[in-house]
Amino acid sequence: MENQDYIIELKNVRKKFDDATDYVVEEFNLKIKKGEFVTFLGPSGCGKTTTLRMIAGFDTPTEGQILLKGVDISSLPPYKRPINTVFQKYALFPTMNVYENIAFGLKMKKVPVTVTKNGKEVTKMVHLSKDVIQKKVKKALEIVDMEDFESRNIQTLSGGQQQRVAIARAIVNEPEILLLDEPLGALDLKMRKEMQLELKAMHKKLGITFIYVTHDQEEALTMSDTIVVMSDGFIQQVGKPKEIYDEPANAFVADFIGESNIYTGTIFPDHKVKILNKLFEMVDTFPLHQKVDVVIRPEDVIIKEQDQGTVNGKIVSKIFKGIHYQYVIMVGKNEVTAQSTESWPVDSTVSISVLPNNIHVMKRNIEVNIYDGYITKNNKVCFADFDWECDVTTLAKNSHINEEGYLQTEDGAEYDLSDCEVKVYVDLDKVIMDDKVDECDVKGQIIQLVYKGDHYQYLVRNESDDFIVDSEWTWNEGDIVGIRINPENIKLKLKGDLKQYAV
């Protein structure tokens, strides 16, 4: 009965909307303990709100199961779930006053009551009495500190007050789980900080499981017991706030949570990794020569006098941030962001070093773009919904295309390559993004980007495929770009044997 430890469990949940081709949530597996404060954290469009809506019951998973105390509730309608939601824009009922809003859920509720009828005990479902409702509403108003507002009209309340009413309306029903969908998004900074602490205190007091959705990493770090970092429909990492911050699972998490320096490095013998053209000591064990992502937090960069550290660099900017200075140091072509309480002059040459356990090494997600494609009749290769110019003669040694359009090898054999399936490889830095979108045959939208010291890594998506692109140029998330690949940079590999295509 291991399920009993967990109040809610999501098993292989996937979600696709009716007319869409892409899944907005993929392979979502998560177990949440009773009383936990869990935060779904990620940029907008990462699938966190959709996941929350599936738990609430407004959306049903396309695949997978949602278990509440071990019972599958995937297709249970929202009004039958012991789960309540605080909506992003409050969603209070404008035609009702504060009291009526909070009492709404209680008025809908029916509780079993055992009565003796004709000598028999019968269980009846009855509505709560007015007194009970009144008491509960009063108590909920007390919890959110809004005692005197009972008969006030919703429109006359400020945003913060409406927020409190929305919370009271949800907790008055004593749900097993409280879902909060970016509840503080519409409040100003000061109010937000205040509500963060109040919500945290409320969570402790009520003992209800909270599932909180936000795109604000600071909010997540402050409030949560567990953070679920999401991106592009996938869970990137699940962990305690400190774990997520100190041991990010990949470059995306590192970049999203706090500030970080991210570099592409190579593993060398004796626990060393080569970044910034120098060998740095590390504690993790990785296969030799493997390409890896390396994350260094700005506060972990130690600045020393010239030649005293591992590598020299020049300070190009210095910003006073209150308790520390933030420096940008150029090491060769790479930028290093560093934080230090010491003051170093701009334009001076300094040396930096990093303690081995502050070098976070992680496997690279993708080193090359790989696609499944096929050769078209005119010897182009089709992948990502487009026929690309390419050099099919690379498929056989010393071959050429003859007049009939067949591939002819040295020994005179001819091969008809049309419709033959191939694997297509394109290096990350060989995909070219172009501003002149209209002149390009393939367009995509930038879904994600991570800065890696001397270049950005972009995730560009078109209707059918993703492109991972390394580029020195700056684009923004959401930009539409044209995509070009020079024919010589498209590497092909036959899936079958060449012989089967002989004419």
């Binding site: 009716d18 609430a56 019951g57 407004f58 309608p77 929202p78 009004y79 789960i83 309540n84 939601t85 909506f87 992003q88 824009k89 969603a91 209070l92 009922f93 404008p94 035609t95 709404f104 859920g105 809908m108 509720k109 009209n153 006359t156 309306r169 949800a170 029903n173």
Partner: protein, 267 residues
């Protein structure tokens, strides 16, 4: 100064010209001459005659009956249609929106004729029910169009919030969605009521021969005789009712504004 006087008098002249015919009828409803323009001295005789004219009173009653029954049916169908369309998929909604606009721009005569042809072809006798059906067809699109903007303005999350708080879809509809769009429903009802009250074309084509509404009754006697003088009294009555409705409407709107301001003030 001259400009101001000119601008003002322009408005008043337009208003005067607009109301002159009605005003004439009202003035001459207090004399018993057969035609407008001859003053036989002040009398309430026409008002007495009005209530004596059984055919005319029956026509008034019929008009009200058709208008209320068809407005109620239209309001129910139009409101449910608007809610249904709002919550259906985009393609279905676009299609529905397209076809509901057609009756508004379509000539009434086309609608009347096609309905009449349809019922004749199906050999359905023209009854009160068929007349109501005709009026519903005429007015239902207006209800849809006055309810729809309220739905669009509504926070889409409040329906979900109601479900989340344990309301069944039906309860959520009755307790949250309908109260929210009620102003739209009421104005839809009023609109279809007025449209149906002064409808002539559809009524003329779809009514039973013996059944008369005010407009068809006047049309019928006009074909043979001059307008009976009692009609002047009737139009006065109708105009008076319209004026009262407008005044009451304005007063309640003002009251609402005031009470809202008071609430704001107490903050």
């Amino acid at each position: 100064m001259v400009k101001k006087v000119l601008a003002k008098s322009y408005v008043y002249i337009i208003l005067f010209l607009m109301y002159l015919p009605v005003f004439l009828l009202i003035v001459f409803s207090f004399t018993d001459s057969d035609s407008v323009g001859i003053w036989n001295g002040f009398t309430f005789k026409l008002y007495g005659d009005l209530f004596q004219n059984k055919e005319l009173m029956q026509a008034v009653l019929n008009t009200l009956l058709v208008a209320f029954v068809s407005a109620i049916i239209s309001t129910i169908i139009g409101t449910l249609g608007a809610i249904g369309a709002y919550y259906s998929r985009k393609r279905a909604r676009k299609f529905l929106e397209g076809i509901t606009q057609l009756p508004i721009v379509n000539a009434e005569i086309v609608m009347a004729l096609s309905l009449a042809v349809l019922f004749v072809a199906l050999s359905i006798p023209f009854t009160f029910f068929i007349l109501v059906v005709g009026h519903v067809v005429l007015t239902v699109a207006f209800v849809y169009l006055s309810v729809k903007p309220r739905l669009v303005q509504m926070d889409p999350n409040i329906y979900e919030a109601a479900l989340d708080l344990g309301a069944t879809p039906r309860n959520a509809l009755y307790r949250v969605v309908i109260p929210e769009i009620l102003p739209g429903i009421i104005s839809g009802f009023m609109l279809s009521l007025t449209l149906s009250l002064d409808d002539f074309v559809i009524t003329q084509y779809l009514k039973e021969p013996s059944f008369e509404t005010i407009s068809t009754y006047i049309q019928k006697i006009l074909a043979k005789h001059p307008v009976p003088p009692e009609v002047r009294a009737l139009t006065t009555f109708i105009f008076l009712i319209a004026v009262i409705v407008v005044i009451v409407n304005n007063l309640t709107a003002k009251k609402k504004q005031k009470s809202f301001k008071m609430q704001e003030g107490s903050k």
